[in-house]
Amino acid sequence: MKPNSVSFESAHVNSPASGCNDTSAIFDRHLLMIGLWVFAGYYLGCKIGFALTFQPHPVSVLWPPNSIVVAALLLMPVRLWWFVLLAAFPAHLAAQLQSDVPPLMIVCWFISNVSEALIGAGLTRYAIGGPLRFSSLRNVGIFCLCVVFIGPFTSSFLDAAFVAWNHWGRDGYWELIRVRLSSNAVSALIIVPLIVTWLTNGVQPLRAASRSRYLEACALFLCLLVVSYVVLYELRAESDLALLFLPLPLLLWAAVRFGALGASTAISIVGFLAIWSASHEHGPFSRETAEQSALSIEIFLIGLTIPLLFLAALIEERATGKNELRESESRFQIVADAAPVLIWMSGVDQRCTFFNKPWLDFTGRSMEQELGDGWLQGVHRDDVQNCLAIYRQAFVARQPFVRQYRLRRNDGEYRWISGQGVPRRDPQGRFAGYIGSCVDVTELVKKDQALRESEERMRVAAEAVNLGIWEWDIIKDEIWATNARRALLGWPASDKIAWNDFISRVHPDDRDRVRHTVDNAIHSGKDFDSEYRLILPDGILRWMSTRGSVQFDEARKPARLLGISMDITSRKQAELDAQRDRAELSHLSRVALMGEMSASIAHELNQPLAGILSNAAAGQRFIDRGDVNLSEIREILNDIIADGRRAGGVVRGIRGMVKKEQVERRSVNLNEVVADALRMASPDAVLRSCQLQTSLDANLPAIQGDPVQLQQVLLNLVINAFDAMRETPTSSRKVLITTELNGDGTIRTSVRDHGVGISENMQDRLFDPFFSTKTEGLGMGLAIVRSIVEAHGGTIEGANVNDGGARFEFVLPINGHSSA
């Protein structure tokens, strides 16, 4: 019923009578047409009314204009009612002025007519809450009450008062009211349904109707015309009144077969004929006085029409109800069959009454086989009991349920099905059984299993290699970690772990670094790895290596940090041991070289010093002995001065100590020297968080030189670079070593750091012996470096780089001999 009224409503919107809803075009063509129709209808109605007036009575038996206005108001939206009235007014004037009625009376009549229409239509609309249709008993009841009775009844007082006031007519006040009430009630009963049903149903049902239906309608109305004519026109008032019932079967036929449309049409035919006949003093209603005739016709028509309208409404109501049910059932069937899920329904006896096509296709069985409990034959043996138990339990409690079971597919394979059922109710709200849907979740189950298995494998593998897997939900600040890892860190398996819990386990010296690394990763979105120390609850120190990567949510915000951690304590220990060994070795070799150097320096210096001391002591002794020979003294002093100069020369000439002849000449590849030096320096690099990078020219020719000394040069420069970067942030502690072949037969090797650089006052003295910026430095490093480079015929220089740090480069000739 509801859907139907909705569809009628929409049809109504498109119908010409209501096409004027658009306020922006009040006076458009459509509205004008409506106005014309109202005008014409009203005018024609007046003419018909006049024609059907029983002379000399001033009141017509059937007065159509009022009903036409009511019909128009019922069809039009309320905001356009003024327009209807506006269109009716000229028609009223035009029709009435032709008679000899005084103009004031004409206007008064218009007012009373309009008030009748407004009262009837307004109340109807209010009571129904929308446009009037004759398709339900309720609507017909409201129509009869408001339009047929209340409207004419209330307005008749006004009308009679107007008549009396104008001294028109001869009847008394109450007589006027009765006459007008009955005539207007008949008009409303006959004309309003006729207009409303035809205009709302329109031509649509006529077009859609089959040929047999056309024939039926034609036959019906032909018969009705003939029978009505015979009964209402030819029959005399004295004849058997029982004959008046002759049209009744035809009217019932119209109502039953054609609904409100048929009924209203049939009634209009009978009504017109009856009135027309009586007005022409024919038929059974032709009495002595017009009043009597009119009254009997009116009683006849009212008595006939009201039940008929109710009957038609009842018929329509049933028809639409049935249609709706059928439609909704077929809709359900279509939807159920088109759905990609398996659907079933059961009745109150728990037995299944319906399976959709996908279900039947899935199981490969027929509806007959599945109905009742037949479907259980397809359920896996192990699942039947559980499956039924869930269903029955839910059924008794009328609760929705979810269950999973294996169902045999048409190819014989059991598939995992996830199904849910909900209780369903009939339109009256009574429990009618269950309806449920199922989905094949085999792939999901398999995936789930596979995932679980792979997770398990992963966990086993992770634990086997002592690998911890963890995940940090940044937003919730919750860390998940594998159980083994939790156990290692002394966290109970169920407790929530926050970031700070973790940080508190990190060695205090490493905390800032770890925080910094992780913050960096979160901000940059890049992966990170970090090595740090953990202090376990029992106080034991473990070295961990952690790699992690940031995961983002839909809003591109960092949401999670995922990663693995590995206990690298033993590796780290070995590394540290090796590093210490190497450091000692490298230190020893450096010490040895330094020792040799200083031995030679000492020797060179001590000779003149010995000379000086001896000479001075000799002088003292000569003087003490009183044996002062001035020339002897002068000679002594000369020798002392010479020796002093010589000592100064030694200090100045220290870089000449590595004499060219002492350089062991071998074929050396500088890239290999760099690699060796890096190997030696890398433990230091790790300790100091420095990164060593190289950019080596792969096509370097070999040079002639002493690989150990050259290694010493590089090592010295790299260690200096590390020292220079003590204040540099860890992330930019980089040392870049490059080798490149110059066009002029030399090889340039550079060591570039990102440290403090070379201050201006250091610049000139960088390579001087005993000049050091380091508190523990001897100041020999760069002096020796320079000695070695020069002994190899090369040059070395150091300078600041524009974007921070310093670069030391030395250039060595390939042939080993140069002007230097």
Binding site: S600, Q607, L609, A610, I612, S614, D639
Partner: protein, 207 residues
């Protein structure tokens, strides 16, 4: 007290050291001769009086340690004082074991060096004295015939004539004659004097 006829030799390849040190020695009234190399020194005749050799460890050619070896081989009595610009413990230990008077690190204090030289000369003089006595004792002992030497060797062990005769398979009377000749040739009065002479000559006793 510096022994008479003593001489100090200085061997160093470094002229500054040579000049300064030899001047210092002269100022301390030592007779001094300086050489730039060990071979120059070896080329000179051996000095007969007490001698001290101040020698640099590191030198081109024959170095200080080498020279010590050579002198020891030739049983020469010069006492060595090592000086070095840069020495180490093992060198020092080796030199001292081989009889060096001292091992000085340049630059050294004058008193240090002079003290060493003095000790070296005293030691050299004593050694020289002992050498002279031994040479004299041996010269006397060389005057004996082989039979007399044989008898003498047994006499210093405290044997009686009869025992010596039994040992050598001759008559006691003969031994008595030999014994008399030995004492006469050596101008000795008693067996005790004979024993001291044999000790000075460092002749292994017959057991």
């Amino acid at each position: 007290m510096i022994p008479t006829n003593s001489l100090v030799f200085l061997i160093d390849d470094d002229p500054s050291v040579r000049k300064g040190v030899s001047r210092l020695l002269r100022a301390a009234a030592f007779k001094t001769e300086a050489f730039a190399s060990a071979s120059d020194f070896l080329a000179r005749d051996q000095h007969t009086g007490p001698a001290c050799v101040i020698v640099d460890v590191r030198m081109p050619g024959i170095n200080g340690m080498h020279l010590q070896d050579l002198l020891l081989q030739q049983r020469r009595e010069e006492q060595l004082v090592f000086i070095t610009g840069h020495g180490n413990i093992s060198m020092c230990a080796q030199a001292m074991k081989a009889g060096a008077v001292d091992f000085l690190q340049k630059p050294f204090r004058d008193t240090e060096l002079l003290g060493c030289v003095e000790r070296a000369l005293v030691r050299s003089a004593q050694q020289r004295q002992r050498g002279l006595e031994k040479t004299e004792a041996r010269r006397l002992l060389d005057l004996l015939t082989p039979r007399e030497f044989e008898v003498m060797q047994l006499v210093v062990t405290g044997m009686l004539n009869k025992q010596i005769a039994a040992r050598l398979g001759t008559a006691e009377k003969t031994i008595k004659v030999h014994r008399g000749r030995v004492m006469k040739k050596l101008a000795l009065e008693s067996v005790a004097e004979l024993v001291r002479l044999v000790q000075t000559a460092r002749i292994a006793a017959v057991t």
